[in-house]
């Protein structure tokens, strides 16, 4: 856990956000994150994010499923408990295909969703700081980490990029276990101060 200071800019539309991102990056600021209410295509590219490798993970999980199914059924039918079904072969590959396929899909899907949750650090009970309650509704929020020296200057810069509103927030930058209906200690202290 680490509590940091952030300059926050709220934009009204993705059409305003894109040039703003360009300006902010051009000026040499390091963007902490951008929060949007839906998947904005091209934003990852604009932020200089790499393509996600999640599909490669999915492929590996899928292959694991294929091998598990074939290996397990093959071992049972040829080694552990071979049976004679009307003189048919002990390793009937065509008849193994349905279960092999299902397990491939099952492993790939479950594995990918778990990896997705792990990479994004999300799970039931996890709490993250929400910079603007409307970032999951209709606002586009750009956040830059600042210190006491450059806070005001950064905020002014963000204001000039077409932000509808800007502010400075002291917030937890990581996730933690918590409830969304409760205020955290650092938030209460901030309010008192």
């Amino acid at each position: 856990m680490s509590i940091k200071k952030f300059a926050v800019a709220v934009y009204d539309d993705e059409a305003v956000l894109f040039p703003a991102v360009k300006k902010v990056r051009g000026a040499g600021y390091k963007i902490h994150d951008v929060y949007t209410p839906f998947a904005v295509h091209g934003l990852d590219e604009a932020l200089g994010e790499k393509e996600s490798d999640l599909h490669i993970a999915g492929f590996i999980y899928g292959i694991t499923g294929t091998c598990t199914a074939l290996g397990f059924m093959g071992w049972i039918f040829t080694t552990d408990w071979p049976q004679n079904f009307g003189g048919k072969p002990n390793f009937p590959l065509p008849a193994f295909i349905p279960i092999t396929f299902e397990l491939t899909v099952l492993f790939a899907a479950v594995g990918m969703v778990l990896t997705f949750c792990y990479l994004n650090q999300i799970m039931p009970g996890v709490k993250k700081h929400i910079f603007d309650p409307r970032q999951t509704d209709d606002k586009f929020v750009l956040v830059i980490e600042v210190n006491d020296q450059n806070a005001a200057e950064t905020e002014a810069f963000l204001k000039a990029t077409g932000a509808e509103a800007t502010n400075i927030q002291v917030a937890e930058s990581d996730w933690w276990f918590g409830r969304f209906d409760k205020k955290e200690d650092y938030e209460i202290q901030q309010q008192l101060a």
């Binding site: 839906f38 091209g42 049972i76 008849a95 899909v105 899907a109 997705f116 999300i122 409830r179």
Partner: protein, 477 residues
Amino acid sequence: MHLKYESIIREPLVDGDKSYHQITEDICSPIESKPTKLWTIGFLISASLLGFGIFSVTWEVYWGTGVWNLNRTIGWGYDITNFVWWVGIGHAGTLISAILLLFRQGWRTGVNRAAEAMTIFAVMCAGQFPIWHMGRVWDAFFVLPYGNTRGPLWPNFISPLLWDVFAISTYFTVSLLFWYSGLIPDFATLRDRAKTKFRKMTYGVASFGWAGSAKHWQRHEMLSLVLAGLSTPLVLSVHTIVSFDFATSIVPGWHTTIFPPYFVAGAVFSGFAMVQTLLVLTRKVLNLQEYITIGHIEAMNKVIVLTGSIVGVAYLTELFIAYYSGVLWEQEAFRLRVMGPYWWAYWAMMTCNVVSPQLFWFKKLRRNIWFTFFMSIIVNIGMWFERFVIIMSLHRDYLPSSWSYYTPSWPEVGFYLGSFGLFFTCYFLFAKYFPVIAIAEIKFILKTSGENFKNKMDVIEEANTEHFIEEQLHHHH
């Protein structure tokens, strides 16, 4: 911003003057208001049906499957009919969310959430039938390949009934994951606008702490795409495997290679019909006509007339092949279907599935809400009879002395009614507490397919193409 441009000739997918915030309001406000009287009544009816179903099943477990009217000749009756019927219905959701995603069909966004929910509930209902048919249901886990003290003795991996166990459970799991991964951002929307403490807490847990970070959205997009790619063959495999239950057995009328495609088409047919039944009501009750437009309904009716025709061709092919094969047993099985003791079921199936959907060739009827609703019920009655007809092929055995007739007993009917109870209880809860429309996805298509944005496109329509592309690229990258 994407370079996608949709012609103004295409019907808008979101009607009215919508902004991002208005979309949130429209979809979230029914969740945040008190349940209506209509909802309460509907929920109570469903819950009591479910109660009656539980009673019927308890009765069956206590006395044994003997309380069902199955006999030596007709060993499969209502339960397998209902199983296949519900699984079939459960095919539309994943078809809409997966296959239409890969085909880039924008209209899926309005209906995918509810259709996927419907899929999950339908598969839950379907699963009940084989489980309770086991009789000694406490031994149901014997179907799983676990290390046991009997050898270990494994289940038979080359039996289609075991394939079913794997197919249905995989299908249920993957559909659930697909559905829930789409729900996470929408739960976050509900959480951040929640006024009550309880709502903030529960949606907070349900949203997994989603905040909407750009990197997370990128992964989310990737996840949806790959899950769609996985679900597309999956949805086709499930009903294929269900059809193997019949096709791999050496029973006249069942042992045919046409079964897999014919079952899959029938499944999509009945699934879309059930989606229509639910959405025609949901859009009215929750006031979502601007999101689930007549255009959406028409698109689904087109799928219904297509799959209905495929099913019709399959029925006729079956008859022809029976005649052409020259196999006496096969011919007799089909003669009995058409004019045997169960002729009424056959003709009910033919009328509902083949004849009546053809009316959807008329645009006026495709776009008529009441006609759509009526037809959606007719189609599902027809599809139920299809499964009943196939299964009742058993009534004439090879020995005339074992010829038989089957009518369900009250616990069987009660079980079937109970599955409706389960389905609608779940659906009512879903419609009240979950975002019925994928909020984030609708926002994503708003600027290309929203009515108000389309109206502003006249300028772009007249603009020079080269110039437009250049400006877009320059503007955003």
